[in-house]
């Protein structure tokens, strides 16, 4: 290959490595350190903070179990809706002449800041049917107003663990915001699929559904994985949306909001750090899966 000094790649990597070390690695190590210390980060307490999280002795202040379960629900529901939705829309809009316009319309929620998104959704989901769009529709068809963002059950029935109406609504808002992202990425990937392949399949008599599942999805697999990975990681650390809309109240806490409350409001840095570290550790399995894919790629190259 090219005659390179051994230090050349490292020169190229240095700025990135430096920035990442200062702003991401160092704080993570600091988080690990604090997770082993007490609330004010003075005395060593070993695994006490982690035990606190596992035992959840003070659900009124910090319901750790509920936060972990809710985060898990986010992973499933948020990603599970955004990706297929984005894919479907990518396929559908790809066939239209007003493709760019429709894609832009769906992408716009991403440009809206979290504060603005929470304001408008508060208007949509307000309990008062005179103000809240959803409840206005519900009452017009004869139902009772629903407390969309406060209901810890599922409307008329009780909730099952984190499966609460308000959590689902928050995820809905998340889907509203991020489908545009999935749509644009997947749509670009779609363009790379040569039309002859699809044409040939159609000529062979394949239905649209078969084309979607047997041709498009397999070819798009790498793209789908990129989008899914990004969204999964985002769902793990979801913070702004929940914090600004419900503040974690009424059972909507996730790990990040709980961390925020513990560290910055209750000034308990120990438990806060332990929570954060659990999040950091949870991404490792995800990365492990990526390792295999990566190695497969290396073989090819």
């Amino acid at each position: 290959m090219i005659g390179r000094r051994w230090w050349t790649p490292w020169m190229w990597m240095t700025p990135a490595l430096a920035l990442v070390s200062v702003f991401l690695v160092y704080p993570s190590l600091d988080t690990l350190r604090r997770s082993l210390l007490d609330e004010r980060s003075k005395a060593f307490v070993g695994l006490d903070n982690y035990r606190f999280i596992v035992e959840n002795p003070q659900p009124l202040v910090a319901d750790t179990h509920q936060a972990l379960l809710t985060n898990a629900l986010w992973l499933v529901v948020f990603t599970g809706l955004t990706v297929p939705f984005g894919l479907l829309l990518a396929v559908l809009t790809g066939r239209l002449r007003y493709e760019a316009a429709s894609k832009s319309a769906i992408f716009i929620p991403m440009a809206v800041s979290f504060v603005a998104a929470s304001v408008i959704w508060r208007f949509m989901l307000d309990f008062n049917p005179d103000i809240g769009t959803f409840n206005a529709i519900v009452t017009r068809v004869g139902g009772d107003p629903v407390a969309w963002l406060q209901d810890t059950g599922l409307g008329p029935v009780g909730g099952i663990g984190p499966l609460q109406l308000n959590n689902l609504m928050l995820m809905l808002i998340g889907v509203w915001m991020w489908t545009g992202f999935a749509l644009v990425v997947l749509s670009a990937g779609l363009k790379g699929i040569s039309s002859e392949v699809i044409e040939a399949a159609r000529v062979d008599g394949a239905t649209e559904r078969q084309i979607l599942f047997r041709i498009i999805i397999p070819i798009l697999r790498p793209t789908i994985i990129v989008v899914t990975t990004t969204l999964l990681i985002y769902a793990m650390k979801i913070f702004d949306l929940v914090w600004v809309t419900t503040g974690g109240r009424f059972g909507t806490d996730v790990v990040s909001t709980l961390f925020f409350k513990q560290a910055f409001i209750n000034r308990d840095f120990g438990v806060g750090a332990a929570l954060a570290f659990i999040l950091l550790a949870a991404v490792v399995p995800l990365m492990a899966i990526s390792v295999r894919r990566f190695q497969a790629e290396e073989e090819r190259a």
């Binding site: 920035l19 990442v20 704080p27 559908l92 440009a111 644009v184 650390k237």
Partner: protein, 302 residues
């Protein structure tokens, strides 16, 4: 009966067979836009109207509409400076992250060195670090390394808290994992022969980078630029904690000053949201055509 050629195949379809397609897409677009429309409409309403009736009622009561909210936001003392501050923070942060990530991505894609796979995965894995956990350690670091001299032309300190440089570096750092993820995957998909030919012609790595790779990568870079711009432009938390000097405050910070301590100044928030959204949308539409092709190869190869 008119027929149309579908965009992706030469197959003939009648227009009424495509009706469900149109119906579904248009329905989705409309539903998607309703909340944004509600936000827009609310920004033209008085606070008393916002608090007592739904935004759709503004259509039946056009006398309720007012420009007062926009006047309030635009007329807020220091808002113009805040807009400039937002630019001063966002643009360099975006340029910086692109430059740094591109170099790292090039090395990760095209150079062989030990542990390159591991390093790539670690960088991408850092995507999960929640921003809030980094605030205190970074602030500590900044406060210990603050250089109190004034930065010429731009203001603020040369480095540390209350400095633009600190913000650029922080935002670049936070944006790197995604940037490296995206760019490296894109670079890997570019044709090897092009790069090899250039090297055979005697080009050094730097020359290949600037003359071959970067121009071909403008789409991916445009995509990255949009995301990073959006993200830094809308940031509030980092500015609140790391900046600490209201004269350097970006728009997001200024806008919080418009919200009463009870948090219910919705009329102001809606107008501010639209004003704040204006520039990122302009950026989005300007870069859009690269964007669509942009994520393409980087995404396909995964």
């Amino acid at each position: 009966m008119t027929t149309t050629r579908s965009a992706s195949s030469g197959h003939r379809v009648t227009w009424w067979q495509r009706l469900p397609l149109h119906a579904v897409v248009i329905a989705v677009v409309v539903l998607w836009s309703i909340p944004t429309l509600g936000l827009l409409v609310s920004s033209f309403r008085e606070p008393s109207a916002i608090a007592s009736s739904g935004w759709w009622q503004a259509f039946t009561h056009p006398d309720q509409l007012t420009l007062a909210n926009y006047e309030r936001v635009l007329g807020e003392q220091g808002m113009g400076r805040a807009f400039v501050n937002s630019l001063l923070i966002t643009v360099p942060a975006t340029v910086l992250v692109i430059l740094v990530a591109a170099h790292a991505a090039y090395a990760l894609a095209w150079m062989r060195f030990p542990a390159r796979g591991l390093i790539f995965l670690v960088i991408v894995g850092l995507l999960v670090v929640p921003l809030e956990t980094t605030l205190i350690p970074v602030l500590r670091l900044f406060s210990h390394t603050t250089i109190e001299r004034e930065l010429p032309l731009l203001g603020g300190n040369v480095f540390g808290t209350a400095s633009y440089t600190g913000m650029w570096l922080a935002h670049a750092g936070y944006g790197l994992p995604f940037a490296v993820f995206l760019l490296r995957n894109f670079f890997v998909s570019l044709p090897r022969d092009l790069v090899e030919a250039a090297h055979l012609d005697g080009a050094s790595d730097l020359q290949v980078f600037w003359r071959v790779i970067l121009p071909l990568s403008l789409p991916a870079i445009a995509a990255l630029a949009i995301f990073q711009f959006l993200w830094v432009w809308n940031d509030l938390l980092i500015a609140l904690v790391l900046l600490g000097d209201p004269t350097l405050a970006p728009m997001t910070l200024k806008i919080t000053n418009l919200v009463s301590s009870f948090g219910t100044s919705y009329q102001v928030l809606t107008a501010a949201a639209f004003l704040s959204m204006a520039l990122p949308l302009v950026v989005f539409f300007a870069f859009q055509r690269f964007f669509v092709q942009g994520m393409l190869a980087g995404a396909v190869k995964g």
